[in-house]
Every structure is written in C-alpha cells, then in structure tokens.
Amino acid sequence: MSEPLLEVEDLRTQFFTEDGVVRAVDGISFTVNEGEIVGLVGESGAGKSVAASSIMRLVEQPGEIVGGEIRFKGETIFGLEDVERDGDGPPEKVPRDDMLSNAEVRERIRGREIAIIFQDPMESLNPVFTVGGQLREFIEINRDLPENEARDLAVHMLREVGIPEAEERYDDYPHQFSGGMRQRVLIAMALACEPSLIIADEPTTALDVTVEGQILDLVDDLQGKYDTSFIWVTHDMGVVAEICDRVNVMYLGEIVEQADVDSLFHDTQHPYTKALLNSIPRPDQSVGELNPIAGVMPEAINPPSGCRFHTRCPEAREVCTRTHPGCREVGDGDGPHRAACLKHEGVFNAGYVESESIENKTTGGFDVGLTEEGEADD
C-alpha cells in the first residue's frame, strides 16, 4: 500500500481559557490516502473543526496544538520533541528541527498543497472585491503566474465549477451570487492551485438540499478529474453516506470509531455511532418514535472519567466509568475497523462482561424522573 498522503498521530489541541483548559481535540489519529474522501463526523462541540484547523496550523489564541504529530507528504507540519530541562521537572516540549516554520507552512502548504473550504461562503469572500479579482489574486500569489494568465485560469476555474457566463460574472461582487454559487467559487479557489488535499469544513450545511446535491455532484466529478483527496467535516450522516470512502466519528475531542463507510453504517461497532444513526429521521422510510441519545454532550473542559460517552451510553457498565478505551482494531471482516468501546471484551480485556450495568440517570431523556415527581404532586 502506498504511503498515506496525510498522517495525523495523537493530535492534541487545547484552549487555555479563564475557566480552565478545554481539551477540544484530545489525541486523535487518522490517515488520508491519495484520492480518498475521509469523513470527520460528529455533533457540534465534538472538536471536528478544531481538528481541521489544526492540520492547517490555523489554531488561534487561546488555542494551541500541544502534542502529536502531523505529517504530510513526508514533511512534518507539526511535531514536538522532549528536551531535558536543567535540574528537575518534566522534560520540555519543543518543536522538532524538521517541523516547518510558520512562513514555510504559509508559503508552501496552505492553498498550494492543502486548501480549505469553510461553511459560510459569504464570510470567506471579501464583499468589496469582485469574485474574479479575488480568485485571480489567489492564483497569482500561489502559482506565481502573471496577471493575465491568472485571469484566464480564474475564468477557466469558474467555468469548471459550473458558473454560467463565467466571463461576464468574473466582475460581479459576492453579493450578486447565490449561496450555492458562492460555494462553487470557493471550490474553484480551492482547486485552482491543484492541491493534493482539500479540507472541507461543513461546506454544504448552509445550502438547500437541491443545491447541496449539485455541489456534491460537482465535488464527485472534480475529485475524479483532479484526483484530489478530501477531509470532509460534517455533522450530516446522509452526506457522509453519499460521498465518503472512510469515516472517523468524533465525540468530545476523541475519535470513537474509524471504518470504511459501508462497515460504519452496516457493521457499527461503537454505541455512540449506533445511537447517532438511530436518532436521525429517515427521508426514505417512515419510522415511529425516534430514539434520541439521552442527555447532552458534556463540556470538553471537564470530560467524564473513563469512557467519555458513558454518561449517555445505553450499554455503559461500571467499568466504563473507570477505564478509558483507546481506539483499537475490533473488526473481524476485511479492512481496518477501529472502535473505542470496552464492550469488545476480546480486544480490551477490561472486565466489561462481569461488570455491572450502570443505571444511566439520563436514560430515556432527562424528563423521565421528573415526570414521575410531577405525578406524585397531583
């Protein structure tokens, strides 16, 4: 198997706030191979966007990447090493020699090798410059082309992403484009430098369903044509099923399940993934009652002990409150399938089977206990 394009290992990103340290991304590892669309899926607050910005080294104060390694095409985007301090105390972490400097990341990686598409196209485009002008400038800077060539390429890219009358619309301002059109412009911008990897952070979430369909089609086509890899950040399991090859499911800063898309949906190994799939209404069939996941996601500032999902997990047992499961290979079939759940006793050997099931206070939603109390009052 060929070398992965991007390797993320044990990545940790934390935010140092007044209230304490928020462990937004807490030790995630995953890879992206060439020509692959890898999903990063989870609910809001799971840490998926922070993970995406970490790869680009775009985390801003008070956030900081505090550990782990990011390798891209043999180069180290991020990596630390231990240096013994004089006297006592733990060793200090300092950037390794081979880690790219800020300037190198800015000039060589961002835009040229890894591009990013954000959710809100209006915020990513400057409202006081024309769409074409912004695209041309981006190409000029990143590909060292003279202005007229950059302009031709810009028009070509606009046409490529399905903007009608690209030549005329080149001089339009962003507000003259519809939401779907603006998102197409951003895709054109991302593709213009023919990067190896595009990070798409919820790019279709703000769009209508028919427009979303058009964009997904477009990405499919262009991906085949340019052989670009994608990291697709989303909360929508439907979109994941449509376009991803492999999927990483995140919960509270950690990856809890990692598998190819078919096994993730049809051979689900983690209770969170299962619960998430059960909680969404289906467009293609009528279901009676939905099965919501009990409670809400806890704060990343003070995550639950042991398995972080144990406070809401229908299959939680006593051992889950104490033992923290890493993400390990649990699959029996073909292809790697990793999950972080102690119920896979054969893999984790944590004594899950003998452990007692815990009475999840929140089982069935936080209304259950209360309603009974209310009845007693009557």
């Binding site: 609910e43 809001s44 046409r159 399905g162 009608p164 009358e165 005329e168 519809s178 939401g179 779907g180 059109m181 209508d208 369903v209 028919t210 427009v211 979303e212 369909g213 058009q214 964009i215 997904l216 089609d217 477009l218 909360h235 929508d236 399991m237 439907g238 979109v239 994941v240 099923a241 449509e242 898309v261 078919d262 949906f265 049809h266 619960a275 998430l276 799939l277 909680s279 969404i280 209404p281 289906r282 467009p283 293609d284 009528s286 279901v287 009652e289 939905l290 099965n291 919501p292 996941i293 809400v296 996601m297 939603g365 936080f366 209304d367 209360l370 309603t371 109390e373 209310g374």
Partner: protein, 449 residues
Amino acid sequence: MTEAVDAETADEELATNGHPEDPDFGETLLSVDGLTKYFQNESGFLSWLKIRPDGDGAPIEADRDWVKAVDDVNFEIKKGETLGLVGESGCGKSTLARTVLHLLDPTDGEIYYKGRNLESLSSEELRRERRDMQMIFQDPQSSLDPRMKVGPIVEEPMKAHGMLDDERREDRARELLEKVGLDPQHYNRYPHAFSGGQRQRVNLARALSVNPDFIVCDEPTSALDASIQAQVLNTMSRLQEEFGLTYLFISHDLSVIRHISDRVAVMYLGQLVELAETEELYENSQHPYTKALLGSIPVPDPRASGSRGQLEGDVPSPIDPPSGCRFRTRCPELIAPENYDLTEAEWHNVRAFMRSVDRHDFDFDGEADLRREFFGNAEPTGEGGRIVDRAIDHLLDDEWEDAAELLLESFAEQSICALEKPAYEVDAENGDGRHYAGCHLHQDRDVVH
C-alpha cells in the same frame, strides 16, 4: 387539598379562551383561502424611480417592484393534526407562517380560524385570539431575552393576557418546565445556562403557557444537533397528544417533515405545488419539484442508490416569477408546446438546448459541433426546426441573448406550463386523503381552486 381547588379554578380560567364553536378533532381548525403577501422591494435608494426615456409621457415614473413572497395559497388544517410545510430557503414558508398568524397583514386572501375571519377582527380581538395561536421560532437563543430568567419568560404570555395571579402563574410555569422535560428547579436560571435543545424546550413551555390550540413552528429543530433534535421532536409529539395541539410545522428538512407530519405541503417560490398525506406524498409524489427534492436528500445509508443534483439552475426571483407554473423554468418535465410537431426525443433536446443557451453555460466550436452536442440523436424538423436553426445562427454571430430570447419565446412561453396556473386533484394511492398537485402533467384530472 387547597392545591387541588386552585388547580381547578386555574383550569377554568385557562379554558375561557375556548370558543363556543370549538371544532372537534379532525374538523377544520384553520383554513387559508387565496392567501397572498407581497412586499415592496426597497433595496436601493430611489430604486422605485424608473427611467423610461423612450416611453410615452413622463420619462421618469414611480414604479415599485413587488416581491411576491406568497401568492394565492390555499390549505386547511384539521384540529389535532400536524401539517408539514416544506420548501427551500426563500420559497416564502416563513412569510406564510407569519401571515397565517396575522403578524403580517395579508395583501389578499382570507384566513379563517375556528370559522372566524381574522381579517374582520379588531386589533384587540385579534390580540385575544393570539392567545390561542402561538409560534416557535428557529433560533432558540435569540427568541429568549437574555436578561430574564426562564420562569418569568414562561409567565410572560400569561401576564400579557391577564391570566391567573402571580403565585399560580409561577406554579404553572414550573409545571410547564417539567412537562417539556426541564427541571422545575431551573425556574430561576437565565437562558445562557441552557443548551440549544433546552432553550427550545423553554420556548415550547412559553408557547404552551397560555394553553393554545394551534402552534406554528418555524424550523424549530433546524439549529439543533441530530441527537438533540430527536429529543425535541419526541417531546413535541408527546405534548401534541397530551394537550390536543395542532401544529403547522415548517422545515426545509424533508426527513424531519416526514417524521412529524400527518399531511405535507410542498412550497416553491411562493406557491404550493403539492399537498397530500405524508405517506402518499413521499411514496407517490406527483409534482416534478417534489420528486427532485426527494431525490436530492442524502440518505444516511451508503448502500442506498442516490440520484442527487437533479435540478439545474437557481430559483428565479420572486419579483418577477415565471407565469403559469413557477417551476417551469427548471422543470425536467416541461411540457412541449402544442403548436410544433416534436417527438419526445426532439423536445428533450430542444428543452436542454434552450436552457443551456439561456444560462450561457457552454462553449462550442462551429455549427457542426453545436448540433452534435445538443441534437446528436434527434434534430427537430418543421417550424420547430426552423426556430432552432435561427437560434443557432444567432449563436454563430455570438448573439446569445437574441438566441435565448427567441428560444424562450417560441418554446417555453408557448407551453401550457407557461400559459395557465396548474391546480389539479389526483387520485391518492396511499390513504384516503386528497392529493393536490400543481402540475399540468395531470391536466386530465379535476381542476381545483
């Protein structure tokens, strides 16, 4: 014991907003007839001044554009049911919701609530009527005053309508917080202490506080995560059963609509295009727009065979919507005009050619290339063919606009889809409800209003 008595008087007081002619379950609670709402387009200073140098009379005239947000919409809602209203952003669903509640004055048309025409009510009567009709908004954050505790927030509508005294209002607020799945102890907390899902529950409690019969829910779960959305949807269903509520549930999410609704109305560019019972609409949809919408939803199953991106182009402007069927400019099944003798394949090619020229989304290399690209398998002959030839001549002279105009005038504008507004009733395959479809493909069926 005293509590029980209090509860009884409270119940009486709560019930006083009931009409003598309250409909039974299954009877019509609300009916909307020809509802229309136009807004003045006020974008731009003096944009209403039109300069017509070559016209008769004054060269400058005042001519305001009207945004036709809702245009001639008819439906009714039965007591105890949930009517889902689905459509893409900008189709007018939120305007429709606000107009139904008379939060916006309709431009035309009537709204009957429990048999009374809301138009005929004085503003004071309307205010009292609103106690019976509540609304829940999309953004749970911005619809709660951050400086008020949730208890008083829930009590506010009761205060406004002069219901109960302070003490009993507080009791009721606590009871309602409990009903919607919050801890009554949270009475003294501020909205910021709650998560999005919990805030939406506070909104629910507030809407329920005046004991309404009818609640308009405008995208109530769109801002919530999947797992939280499921909790809130389940709570809403439970409350509907418990209090006999009637919902008008607005969403862009077809999965949510399918889950929560008894009947579903599909809206496009200010008009209803299809209305049927939920199962019927999803399993036997008759309008090409509904079909395209359903086909576009990403199904959360990688093994499902998806066919997405079925619609070309963008929604036209509601200032100058297409005549006849508003969907016709994008409809994959636009009907061939009768005055030309075109085969199915020829019409298919002409339609694709016409739209591509109109959108100017292709380049070509000479006439042969153009003909091969668009008319490879079937080239129209006769009058239709001559029009296509003239359009191609325009294109060869780089006159795109002339070509587009010629094609649209000769074909699109001659289609029955452009000439008449479609409104038909088709046979339902699932259930026994009516199935309305605004599409001329059903022109052999009964025409409804």
